[in-house]
Point group: D2
Chain length 456, copies 4
């Protein structure tokens, strides 16, 4: 297997992405700050580096520091010149077709977001603008199919899960595929790849002509989580919040596989939205599942939710252990409810306009000491608000424990000061400890020290 | 034949145009000045009124004053409610499919131009902006096919031509179709419909799978020149100048059939562009043709060009009388040169970026007394400038003779005062007299009085 | 226009017809009596000679006596070498695609009939065998579309009709096409071409993706009635009876335009079948129509039917004068009845198994003196039998009056002796006189002498 | 997982297989010996029983003794009624689409072979007839794609191989799929399924639009080796010899994975053909491969070939151990030679007419005592003849050791008497012993007793 080689070549685009103006070409070549060159080079490299096992974006960028990409306008259309590209993206000198497609969809999304999007909606309401922006990006990417019954299943979960967990995601994907359901994940390996592989085999048996394997990514994570070439609709959202919104507006149901603290955050995101009073009648199947031997993960999460947000929250999800067939049956049933509800309420099948995303979930959160100090982790507020607060706290604590800038901040300024009920804090503490025990965070049991203290 | 009836019904869109945001729906429903309702209603009515023989937009709008159109967002997608629509658009209660498509392409273009277009190019150069705007509209309408060799033949000519002339346009269309060439016209009847009909039969014999019958229109003329349902790509440009630019950048060659003064203006437009020094090496087949009995039209025009702009101009066009086969053969040869040139210069096949359109042709002209007085109709200037000046003079004189506001202005302020060489003015005079004699203008020989005088 | 030239070239087939065995290639090259060469050459020439105005097969064969066709097996597939082929089949040296298709469908049918067909049905019943043979040929030609509602309209009528009649057939075709109906004719010019041309324009407006223009021919007539390249399904049946059967089993309704004695024979064929008691509940729309000025043809035929077979027969057809819209409306209504009946009786949509064709219509008739003498043209027998007898008598009398071998036989052996009721014979006589008067037979009024006498 | 249940339902066909005549329906329903009912029921059951682990046909037939299948002709087309079908073929009550296709392709092939085939070639040469019959069956099944470059890779090997061997076949399939190669196997599990699964994932990454997974089966083995639903072209040849011939004429190269004695027989079949002097210049890539740990199988076979047929034979194959990438690279290179040779010799890409199959390989062999006694296992004859003799001897010895009728015959009549060179017999003996040692035959080491003796 070729591992350390580079290939330089030129690539022609998909037909539909083959028409650029000289202005657009110039923008992609523009190395200044207002230009798109840096972003385009970085995303292209990520796309080409598929299948690599390197974890960090910086590692990738370092190894392929000589990689470059030029764009040319030839009489027949656009052409990309790749210089020192990862050889793993090629088969006998020819770029794998799926990767070739990814290259040009990245180009499509970067240009569209940079160029045409600003006026998509003449409102000052930032929430409405965000929702509309996501809509326009998805429409431009042709990701919405108006006459198709709800069938898009989002799969979330860890990217570095254990072998039996990975095999399990394949089996679940296979059962979903047998029911002609499509898969949407965040790109990358592990729980984001397994369901697509399983579904591919099942779709082949069912002769599904246009199976959809949607990958939603954003420039900040694409380098670390290269899209798998099975993904046949790669969409690059401009930031992490729009990516999360795209998942819940495009997807019709969600399956969560085991993961780490990041997966727990995604669970709190989804759960918080579903708990908002305006969403209480909107069906949205949400299933947590893993193989035998991985029960602990969801037991931990479930316990945490019960202890903090309350029993009521557990009505919005279901836990299924080691039964891919049942997961698919329950998802299918859930999607039938989604269909019925959309018909009843005249909601489109292709974009979930109805779902209300409270600003607490739509706006980004930067876990500084100050931001952490203003969190309110007490009972006596709406459950969806508490979910949002907990999600942020979790995010900050993870940063304080394992992410470099967070650890540094703690070292400098001491532990975060949190305001919250004692038992809620205890639950949070327990949740993190369990993740450490289950080897789901890069930290040893002995080293684990809470990076916060509770104040009154 | 049903003639005076109205039908109310609802229509679902083409799949690809079926995804609107609530904002867009609101904009189409918005009856205020900033809204699109009025424009959308007017264009929709025009599209539905196909095949009608009414000449004037106001007549159309008057007869169908009770026509209305609503847009609805249903769970499956968008739906249009038509109220009191012209029954001629329907076959046994069902809207003709081609017209259904036109309705939704109008909607597509109005929304795109209104909404997304403003930032398509961050330059202040108005010419560059215009060229880019046309490009973006055409790309959004999927009108550019990057890997296809030049094959788009623009057909210009009158909309109310005589029977033998109409039959002749069909025969030319048939010969073009046999050579697998596509047709682009300005929509409407006469010379804009005949070539498409002829080509349809030939494309059927040649089993051309995706024949293109492109209609370029704009809101100001669509009401009077309803697109024929054979048109399978209807594109509504925002104004007359962008429409003209779309013809010459999208088309690879032009055939001009007999027409009236409007057709003569189009000839001067094209010829002026081709005479610009920057365009002198760009091949662009331009053929004037008509059946036996219609020679006079092009003899007149040719004589006028020779006498004013000069012999040199005649190198850019060819006149062929009563020989559809030869017209197609010459066009085919011309397109081969276009292909060779585009390859040589790395120009795209799908949009003629190279062609320079001087601002004299790109900017609109309003024929007031003042504007007419500033025209310079003398020799001693670049031939392309003279062509532009003559085109404007012609435009003004036609207005002064037959268009209501023009006639009124002459009555009030006296004849236009023109500055020009005597013989040039005489040629212009002769050109118009000939059109009158040939019944190509709505004016009798006796009534024709020049509406201008030459000053020094 | 090139008229008297020849082209030699090689042609590659449609993909689906591109796989022949060496045995099949040998058979097509075999010039012996058991080989297919002669038949293949003759049919190919006919196909290539489309659009020619020559009436007789022998004329065609004579002009193109140097025409030859070879078949080659190349690594990529089959290739045909054409030597001295009619230049009219080509556009700038390239064979018109529709004609290229026809060449290979002829090859397909000749091989299939010659080779694979014999065992298609292990019954000794000759009628059943014939019906099955027609079924197998149509299936092999992919002419049956199982899930499609009845929409195949057969158009019969003369091939050398007057201009207004030809224009009228186009208008009827246009109205049928607007209703998404398909057209099936016997190939050739006149009433067999006009409806297809009209339908092509309408199908284009309705965006019908796979319009069907079915041409049913047989080796004996193809040379004189070359298929029009609009025909996109050419099927060569082995003989005239199977061709007639294909019309009534594949078609869902029939429109008859004016023609000559041949058209009258076809009317008697269809009417006789519909009058059989086993067919009395089977709906089958049958419309006779022509423009203003052509009423006489159907008046004559209608009168003849009433006077001979009786009023009852007139219930199975409808005459519509000069109203293409009404023809299409009535056909559409008739097809709705066909659909309802097929559903009710579990009959397939694609082949009319139910319709019983009495042997009197299925077996060929050779009009010798002896055969004519045994006809029974009297009342007192089943009306469908009388229709069959009259059809044969008509066939014989036409032969005796205008066809060379018939005229010769009469000259030699005297007039045919017919046994029949006097008034029936008088009606027959009147029918033929009227055709002569209407210039629908190649004979002058003065020359017309009945070639038969009635005996007791 | 549902395992022991039955489902009764009705199934509609693929469009293209939806047109049957009443005669054909009757033949499929005919339970007499001349009818097709029994064969159709048995093959249908096999197709529906996919994924089952039952080894023997009789076991399958026994468990589903209540299974029945009826065929109906409804107005829209054909319909199959399934009674007590295996539930594993269904997903939530709906038949898996791939299996639905298989049902109707079985029907297609049974009818075609029974009905239309007899006259496909008017020669008495039985070899030519066989080759033509195979050609006609494949053409009728639309299995030949004339303009496609050689890309069909046949994979042979055992159906009950070990896990690492199965995983290895998937990896090889994946590498073949990355190179856009298609897969053809004998249906069933193990080495016949793995390559298709691997190729499916790779074809998805390469966006291969119409990947081909061809399964060649015959009524005698289909029950025991149910086709995997990934197979998207199932073709049922009438007998084992035609199936083998189909492999070598349709396939462009062969990969052999480890298997048992059956696989060794297939190797001798292919090798014998390639050793024939008439085939010596025909390139035909033949690769034996397996994972680390399975080297023994091919070492054994290779040694046997060298010792018996001779070193020369080894030039026609290549052994690659544990290197899927290299297998694919070598196959790709081999196919390039095939392409070059076919172009050079004007051989079609879709059917290997050139390859001569000696009658020794084309005619069936029944291993009776008498037939075994007439084998000539000595040197001094053409190597391809010796290969054919050895293949037969091997076949007989396997039967004598493990197949019920063979074991019984040996018990009754004593060991087979073989005429051969001593060392050749020793090699054969060693080959079989090795298979026993490697657990590739259902027999223990201790039990293995040669069932033959050598005579002079």
């Amino acid at each position: 297997m070729i591992t350390e080689q580079f290939i330089s070549t030129s690539v022609t685009p998909l037909e539909s992405l083959d028409i650029l103006s000289p202005h657009e070409v110039a923008k992609l070549q523009d190395k200044s700050n207002s230009g798109l060159y840096r972003l385009f080079r970085q995303c292209s490299l990520a796309v080409l580096n598929t299948g690599s096992e390197m974890d960090s974006a910086s590692q990738v960028l370092d190894r392929f520091k000589d990689f470059d990409i030029h764009i040319k306008h030839k009489h027949k259309g656009v052409q990309l010149e790749l210089i020192n590209a990862p050889a793993t993206a090629f088969v006998e000198g020819e770029l794998i077709q799926g990767i070739r497609e990814h290259l040009f969809t990245v180009l499509r999304d970067l240009l569209y977001v940079g160029d045409e999007l600003d006026l998509c909606c003449d409102t000052d309401d930032i929430s409405e603008r965000t929702t509309n922006t996501v809509f326009h990006i998805l429409r431009h990417a042709d990701a919405m199919k108006p006459h198709v019954k709800p069938n898009m299943v989002v799969c979330w979960g860890g990217h570095s899960i254990k072998r039996p967990e990975y095999q399990y995601t394949k089996k679940v994907g296979y059962e979903l595929g047998l029911r002609r359901l499509n898969i949407c994940t965040g790109c990358g390996p592990g729980a984001m790849k397994g369901p697509m592989k399983g579904a591919t085999i099942a779709h082949s048996k069912q002769r599904v002509l246009n199976p959809r394997y949607v990958g939603l990514t954003e420039p900040g994570i694409i380098a670390a989580e290269s899209p798998n070439p099975i993904v046949n609709e790669l969409i690059t959202l401009p930031d992490i919040e729009k990516r999360l919104e795209a998942f819940v507006r495009l997807g019709h149901g969600i399956i969560v596989f085991p993961g780490g603290a990041g997966t727990a955050e995604e669970i709190l995101y989804m759960l918080g939205i579903l708990l908002h009073p305006r969403n209480k009648d909107i069906p949205f199947p949400l299933i947590f599942t893993g193989p035998e031997g991985s029960e602990a993960y969801f037991e931990t999460v479930d316990k945490f939710i019960r202890e903090t947000i309350g029993e009521n929250a557990t009505k919005r999800y279901e836990i299924i252990v080691d039964d891919p067939h049942q997961v698919a049956v329950r998802m299918r049933e859930g999607l039938d409810l989604v269909l019925a509800h959309r018909k009843e309420t005249d909601e489109s099948f292709h974009y979930n306009w109805q779902l209300f995303i409270p600003p607490e979930f739509q706006l980004p959160f930067e876990p500084t000491h100050e931001a952490m100090a203003t969190l309110n982790l007490k009972r006596g507020q709406e459950d969806y608000i508490l979910a949002a607060q907990l999600r942020r706290a979790l995010s900050g604590i993870v940063a304080g424990n394992v992410k470099e800038p967070g650890v540094e901040a703690i070292r400098k300024h001491g532990p975060f000061e949190l305001t919250g009920d004692k038992d809620i804090m205890a639950s949070l503490d327990h949740l993190l400890e369990s993740f450490v025990d289950q080897h789901r965070m890069k930290i040893n049991h002995e080293e684990y020290v809470p990076c916060y203290k509770v104040v009154r």
